[in-house]
């Protein structure tokens, strides 16, 4: 059922700068794989290249047996791979409900032909999507804000909404870019509970996160990037004990 993510030797250059240089990694279903590294280490670029927006210059990305590299970026979510954005990118002038509805894949009603030829099927699926969207929002305690314009929500609620939208895609591989940054303790706890819930459902969770307490608390595996290269990888315990990581990444700070 689960879908592993495999990244092989991926590179990306911007002008003369190598943002990613031959990075390989694997993330497994039912696990949280965290990617850490300093600013500019290539974490977000890695998520971008996995979802082909923009595609990498070299290397390959696989979701299970399916190769994602070379695929049009809008076809990636239907293959079970979805990411969130650090800048959220919620549809700020659409309602909370509309935002979540846009997450559903294989939407019959997005094809004009179906609107004409199969209005019944469109209506039925629409009702199903509405019910599921309400369910997801209820689970995230957003049920009483269905019709609120998303852009007017507080930052924390917007972050929850971006997760709700990702959950609606029903993707097997979920990549979350800084889901807790800028949030207070209460929201961090709510969001971490959601992330753990994803893992419990057998999803492959990839987490880009800068809060080391969170990373070491929640991760099953940790991947360390440094200047676009894979610097180290292993379990939290292994990374904690890694001399080089302590030196380069944590500096004088004791993890």
């Amino acid at each position: 059922m689960g879908l592993p993510l495999r990244v092989e030797n991926v590179s990306k250059r911007f002008g003369g700068l190598a943002a990613l240089d031959g990075v390989s990694l694997q993330a497994m279903p039912g696990e949280i794989t965290s990617i850490i590294g300093q600013n500019g280490a290539g974490k977000t670029t890695l998520l971008n290249t996995i979802t082909q927006l923009p595609p990498p210059d070299g290397g390959q990305v696989f979701a299970g047996e399916v190769e994602l590299t070379g695929m049009a970026p809008h076809k990636i979510p239907a293959r079970g791979v979805v990411r969130t954005f650090q800048q959220l990118r919620i549809f700020s002038r659409l309602s909370v409900l509309e935002n979540v509805l846009l997450g559903f894949q294989h939407n019959t009603g997005e094809r004009l032909w179906n609107l004409v030829a199969r209005p019944g099927a469109v209506r039925a699926q629409r009702k199903d999507h509405h019910d599921r969207a309400r369910g997801i929002l209820a689970e995230l305690e957003l049920a009483d804000m269905l019709d609120v314009e998303a852009g007017t929500l507080s930052y924390g609620l917007q972050k929850l909404l971006s997760l709700a939208r990702a959950i609606a895609t029903d993707a097997q591989i979920l990549m979350l870019d800084e889901p807790t940054s800028g949030l207070s303790g209460d929201f961090v706890a709510r969001i971490l509970a959601i992330v753990k819930g994803m893992r419990a459902r057998g999803r492959t969770v990839v987490l880009v996160e800068h809060d080391m307490d969170v990373v070491f608390d929640i991760s099953d595996r940790i991947v360390v990037l440094d200047h676009g290269r894979l610097f180290a990888h292993g379990t939290p315990a292994e990374i904690r004990g890694h001399e080089g990581v302590r030196e380069i990444y944590f500096g004088s700070r004791v993890a």
């Binding site: 809008h74 979510p77 979805v82 954005f85 509309e98 846009l102 997005e110 895609t169």
Partner: protein, 288 residues
């Protein structure tokens, strides 16, 4: 009475024009200035198939919709590569190119002289002759067109179109094919304009290129901006206000010579007023 009916007929045409422009302008967030070009294509398609092939109303209207939509899909290929100001300028360029081609293709369109003796609308036994016939037929067509466009813009397709307007990257990351959605929206919108063109051609029975110029595009734009973007009731309200209301000026007694200038002055002022005070229009969503 005849006069009131003639305004109603005009109103049905502008209701369709405004509602169809709203698909790209409001829901799609693309400021297109070539809507009158597609209006022209529909008018000429209906006129030519009616005059030369003797087609009745339903086939000519279908031809008008199909040809306008097809041309739009073709033009969308280069046009939708453009963003922001460049999209506006590109659409303006196409507006002028379309009218220029119509103007200069004497062999087909009779150029500046225009096409006359366009048949009145016939549907099997029925032929629209009186103003009342026209008002009833066109009223029904406009109602259907608005209902169809409402169905499309509130469908999941419409939702995706609105999402693309809000954030192309996020929409792509959720699996929406941004380009394809926009091309389809552009074609639907042009199809609506084509339908309005068919109604116009069969009503006035004489058309020439001057009815479909850039100024006309701006006029249609002002209906949507004033009424409101990205809602169904916005463009309807705009057409009611700007097409029907100024006709009342006539009763106040302005000379017919100054009439059109005063009317243009009015909608120019309204465009400015709404841009300053309420860019989403009277009953629109905030989009720009």
């Amino acid at each position: 009475m005849e006069y009131v009916l003639s305004i109603v007929i005009l109103l049905t045409i502008y209701l369709i024009l405004a509602t169809s422009l709203n698909v790209v302008l409001g829901h799609g967030g693309l400021l297109s200035l070539c809507h009158a070009g597609f209006y022209a294509i529909g008018a000429y398609a209906a006129a030519l198939t009616g005059i030369n092939l003797g087609w009745s109303f339903l086939p000519t209207a279908a031809a008008a919709v199909a040809i306008a939509a097809a041309v739009a899909a073709l033009l969308a290929l280069p046009l939708l590569k453009l963003r922001g100001d460049y999209f506006i300028l590109g659409s303006l360029g196409f507006q002028i190119i379309i009218i220029d081609i119509i103007y200069n293709s004497d062999w087909l369109t009779n150029g500046a002289l225009g096409l006359s003796r366009i048949p009145r609308p016939r549907i099997s036994g029925f032929e629209a002759i009186s103003h009342l016939d026209y008002a009833l037929l066109y009223g029904a067509v406009a109602l259907i067109a608005i209902a169809v466009l409402h169905y499309i813009t509130t469908s999941p397709f419409g939702g995706a179109l609105n999402a693309v307007r809000e954030d192309e990257v996020a929409a792509t990351a959720l699996g929406k094919n941004v380009r394809s959605i926009r091309v389809r929206a552009f074609a639907i919108s042009a199809g609506g304009a084509g339908l309005a063109g068919a109604l116009y051609a069969h009503y006035v029975t004489y058309i020439d290129p001057t009815s479909f110029t850039f100024t006309e595009s701006v006029y249609i734009l002002s209906l949507v901006i004033v009424g409101g973007v990205a809602t169904t009731r916005g463009p309807i309200l705009g057409a009611l206000l700007l097409v029907a209301a100024p006709e009342m000026l006539r009763f106040v007694g302005f000379s017919s010579d100054m009439d059109s200038n005063l009317r243009q002055l009015l909608y120019g002022l309204l465009l400015i007023l709404f841009a300053f005070v309420r860019p989403s229009g009277i009953a629109g969503r905030s989009v720009f």
